[in-house]
């Protein structure tokens, strides 16, 4: 990725990372396809609504403290804001920070704007956001309508940055451009790297960049054990934190799908080393993560003792949990990489993984070789998974896998997807907040959550009894998993 920040738009994952949307087989088989960069299966003919890059770009850019966001779009693209507002507010509280609201406006592109261009409206919207919120910086989210019409957002951003004297960051996250919605993460980061991040003037030797979602403060106690501090990015951080993230000792992430683009560019163009270890989910991955961070920060001398003590500390409760959870079967529906993290995590609780669906799969990874993909790392710790699929939500397909493997519970990380399990009477952990599951304590917490979760079985059995699915018998009887 030489000179990634030298171009206006980041290359979409479809071509950069060879992202795929369809696969069914064993986890190890997918890993083999990935190694050979061979597309394993044809695309679907019948698809249910997916999600788009703009949503993921929003998870990066919409929660920067002090910032404002301008959606250059019709009102529909703006429709997540009430739900996002709740999330930002509550997440700030959960992290122990002063809560704040999302500060965004929509240029509300109309039919006329699609004919004559919407740049005047965009300028007005940026100016309004500036006047109303007095922000430290402004993100401009593009949209399908703006992208197809060809509005030159970059020029407006540059002109207005000069006029207003604050960074104005164009985010090219048009939904139609990429089939992998995770491309939106990259689009958000790309804008930040180009327009905000500064060349480092110094190194903060104890500072670790943690690329995460809106999550709780799990990493302060974890890193304190080896004398380090987390630098949470990007949600809830302020402009100064984004500017100076280039001074950190190293960068890591809670999910490779979320973070590897920016951690790789930070390494290649700003000299911030990337932590080449899987995210800290499950015991072995947490051990490796600690060791790798320690190596990069000169803490190798103390890290082994910390790991040993931590193992000892959690063992009694872990033993209890394993006893209680023995025999339970889980299906994981998340990711790409976060599903693998969960695989590593639940394996340590002694729960059997009977199936896994990842919402897409990157056959290549930014800054990492296939041998160290999270998929391979998961297979290494948790074993192969027989019933492994890749699909971008598609409940009509996943229902078949669930009916076949009959899990006791699911762990799901995508909104509006737990309901599928619920309609079959299967309880789920909606893994909306993922920092809490990290580290040794995250393992215990996950175990406790599963214990309680199972109690939902009765009410969901009622739901399953009353529910009717909209799928035809023909479809449910078909051998194929998708058409």
């Amino acid at each position: 990725m030489a000179n990634a920040t030298g171009v206006a738009e980041v290359e979409i994952r479809d071509t950069r990372l060879k992202s795929i949307m369809a696969f069914h087989g064993k986890a190890s088989e997918l890993q083999e396809f990935s190694r050979q960069l061979k597309k394993p299966a044809a695309d679907r003919c019948f698809t249910q609504c997916s999600d788009c890059a703009q949503m993921c770009a929003g998870t990066v850019t919409n929660h920067v403290r002090g910032s404002a966001v301008v959606y250059h779009s019709p009102m529909g693209c703006f429709a997540n804001t009430p739900v996002q507002n709740e999330a930002t507010y509550n997440a700030a509280l959960a992290r122990g920070l002063e809560p704040f609201d999302v500060r965004s406006v929509c240029s509300n592109i109309s039919e006329k704007d699609t004919i004559y261009g919407g740049l005047k409206k965009l300028r007005d919207a940026v100016k309004l956001a500036y006047d109303r919120f007095v922000p430290t910086c402004i993100f401009i989210q593009s949209s399908c309508a703006a992208g197809i019409v060809g509005d030159d957002i970059e020029s407006v951003a540059d002109e207005m940055a000069e006029e207003l004297g604050i960074p104005i960051v164009p985010v090219f996250c048009e939904g139609f451009k990429s089939k992998a919605w995770s491309t939106g993460f990259d689009a958000g980061y790309h804008g930040i790297l180009r327009k905000i991040a500064q060349k480092p003037e110094k190194r903060q030797k104890d500072l670790v960049n943690i690329f995460n979602f809106l999550g709780t403060d799990t990493f302060t106690p974890m890193l304190a054990k080896i004398g380090l501090r987390p630098n949470y990015l990007v949600p809830l951080a302020d402009l100064e934190t984004l500017r100076t993230m280039t001074e950190a000792a190293c960068s890591t992430e809670v999910c490779e799908t979320l973070g590897t683009y920016i951690t790789t560019v930070l390494e290649e163009e700003f000299g911030v080393p990337k932590v080449h270890a899987p995210s800290p989910y499950g015991i072995k991955w947490t051990d490796e993560w600690y060791r790798e961070i320690a190596r990069l920060t000169g803490k190798t001398d103390i890290v082994e003792k910390v790991i040993e003590e931590e193992h000892k500390r959690i063992q009694p409760e872990l033993d209890e949990l394993k006893k209680e959870l023995a025999g339970l079967k889980v299906y994981i529906y998340a990711g790409d990489s976060y599903a693998h993290n969960l695989g590593s995590l639940v394996h340590d609780l002694g729960v059997e993984i009977v199936g896994m669906t990842t919402l897409h799969h990157d056959m290549k990874i930014d800054g990492e070789d296939a041998q160290h993909s999270t998929l391979q790392e998961m297979i290494d710790v948790a074993g192969d998974i027989e019933e492994f699929t890749v699909c971008n939500k598609q409940p009509y397909e996943v229902i078949k896998h669930l009916k076949k493997v009959k899990p006791d519970f699911m762990i799901v990380r995508h909104m509006n997807m737990t309901i599928l399990a619920a309609k079959l009477g299967i309880p789920s952990i909606f893994e909306g907040e993922i920092n809490v599951s990290a580290g040794y304590d995250g393992l215990l917490l996950t175990g406790r959550r599963i214990k309680d979760l199972i109690k939902a079985k009765k009410i969901l059995a009622t739901l399953a009894e009353y529910n009717e699915f909209p799928y035809t018998d023909w479809w449910l009887d078909q051998e194929e998993n998708y058409i």
């Binding site: 609504c49 703006f78 009430p82 739900v83 409940p395 909209p470």
Partner: protein, 468 residues
């Protein structure tokens, strides 16, 4: 009225996918980018009182998830393939294709594609709901007119006496639409009518839509939404329509509405009055039972009225609150961007009840601007106020120590099932919720006139029945 919007009160025309979901047995098929359908779900289902995906909604909705190649080469082929597959996979009595911005800009002819695909077994219609065409109120109109236009293309009316169609609230955008439609159907059935309510759990589904041409009368309960559909039916099937801009709330407007329907259809007067009388008798007893609260706490009740609502809900509720509850009009912020003719209707209807409504109707779709205006007015008035609003207004209500009724989207603070705020039952529900606010002392105090905390506590014992 602002065009740039900070706090949204609606989504885009594609939001009408939720209207299709409101018809039992109908399946929306989205021809748009990959994230569009999810946004509608987020705002109109999660953000409108956690209404859920239901039978065919949420992630289950078929979608072309249009990408680069559809934008460059056109997406009609992909849509055609999706439709063929949808018939195989998804059960449906009616399939409605809704196109989004990508298809709209590149000029895909969805109507033609659906026309070519529609069969008796899989009736299919197609409409252009590109987001840039307007909000989801407009989208709702596009959908209902599109269904009538295309599904009933060859239908011949065979009028059945006593059958009426109802066009009223917008499913999901009205967070209480399910309960509201059940109540409207109930009261019309009370007159002995057969009702095609068209949406919701009380609807027989698509068969009601086939039955539309046979109605004796179309009833439009809204200042403008649904009016185009009624006019279309008049042109197409010769069905007369009754345009009642007031969505009736409470006793007076509901009874007046029922009498108007009865009169239009020349229903038996005695039977009509019997039904109205029995409803009113029940309602009045409930109202009187509120009397103790109304009189005991008279100095502490809210009297200043602010509405942040769409045309239909706002007008009906404003009339109820001024006509029956004696509230003092402060402002009605109409959020749905109504056409000019509707504005005149609303203004006239409000002033008919109370002249104080003059100059109090304001068109404004940005809740951020509305909030500021309400807060400024409250600061001047210093009177306990009642705000009909949404989750956007929660902080305002708490900060200014006033009562908020979650009345319009977005609502992320309550789970809503079969509640109604229209008709006789809606009036009672409103009273229950408004005056419960007086006792919600965690959020609303009774320190309206400069009472101290101590006096409030004394007053609190009065509330629990002590005499002092």
């Amino acid at each position: 009225m602002s065009t740039i919007i900070q706090e949204a009160k609606f989504t885009c025309a594609l939001g009408a996918q939720q209207s299709v979901l409101g018809i039992p047995g109908a399946v929306p098929v989205i021809h748009a980018g990959p994230g569009c359908s999810q946004r509608q779900f987020s705002y109109l289902s999660v953000g409108s009182g956690y209404q859920g995906e239901g039978y065919t909604g949420g992630g289950q909705i078929p979608c072309t998830n249009s990408s680069q190649s559809e934008v460059v080469f056109g997406g009609e082929k992909k849509l055609a393939k999706l439709l063929d597959a949808t018939y195989k996979v998804m059960k449906g009595d009616l399939y409605v294709v809704l196109s989004g911005c990508t298809a709209g800009i590149v000029g895909d002819d969805v109507k033609q594609v659906t026309y070519d695909h529609s069969t008796k077994e899989h009736p299919t219609v197609g409409v252009d709901t590109s987001g840039f065409r307007g909000n989801n109120y407009k989208g709702h109109n596009i959908v209902i007119e599109g269904i009538i236009d295309q599904l009933l293309e060859e239908a011949q009316p065979n009028v059945r006496k006593g059958l009426v169609n109802v066009f009223s609230v917008v499913p999901f955008q009205d967070p209480y639409w399910r309960g509201d439609l059940e109540e409207i159907k109930r009261i019309l059935e009370g007159l002995g009518l057969e009702v095609n309510i068209l949406f919701g759990y009380g609807s027989k589904g698509v068969s009601e839509w086939y039955d539309i041409p046979n109605a004796e009368l179309n009833i439009v309960l809204s200042p403008w939404v649904g009016l185009g559909a009624a006019k279309l039916c008049e042109r197409r099937f010769g069905t007369p329509y009754l345009h009642n801009p007031v969505l009736p709330v409470g006793l007076k407007d509901t009874s007046a509405f029922l009498r108007k329907v009865a009169e239009t259809l020349s229903l038996d007067r005695e039977k009509t009055e019997d039904f109205i009388k029995s409803e009113e008798r029940r309602y009045k007893q409930y109202f009187v039972s509120m009397g103790d609260v109304l009189s005991d706490y008279a100095p502490y009740l809210p009297y200043d009225l602010y509405l942040i609502d769409d045309s239909a809900y706002g007008l009906g509720t404003a009339r109820f609150c001024t006509n029956e509850l004696g509230m003092i009009p402060q402002a009605f912020f109409d959020i749905d961007v109504p056409p000019a003719t509707a504005k005149e209707l609303i203004q006239a209807s409000l002033e008919e009840i109370d002249e104080a409504w003059k100059d109090k109707l304001i068109d404004e779709p940005d809740n951020a601007i509305i909030r500021k205006a309400v807060e400024q007015r409250i600061a001047i008035r210093q009177t306990k106020s009642l705000i009909f609003g949404s989750s956007w207004d929660k902080d305002l209500a708490e900060r200014t120590d006033n009562i908020l009724i979650f009345h319009s989207a977005p609502i992320t603070d309550n789970v809503i099932l079969n509640k109604t705020y229209v008709g006789y039952n809606g009036g009672l529900n409103l009273m229950q919720d408004i005056y419960s606010g007086v006792f919600n002392r965690k959020k609303v105090s009774n320190l309206t006139h400069g009472e101290t905390e101590r006096e409030r506590n004394t007053y609190g014992t009065a509330k629990t029945g002590g005499s002092n």
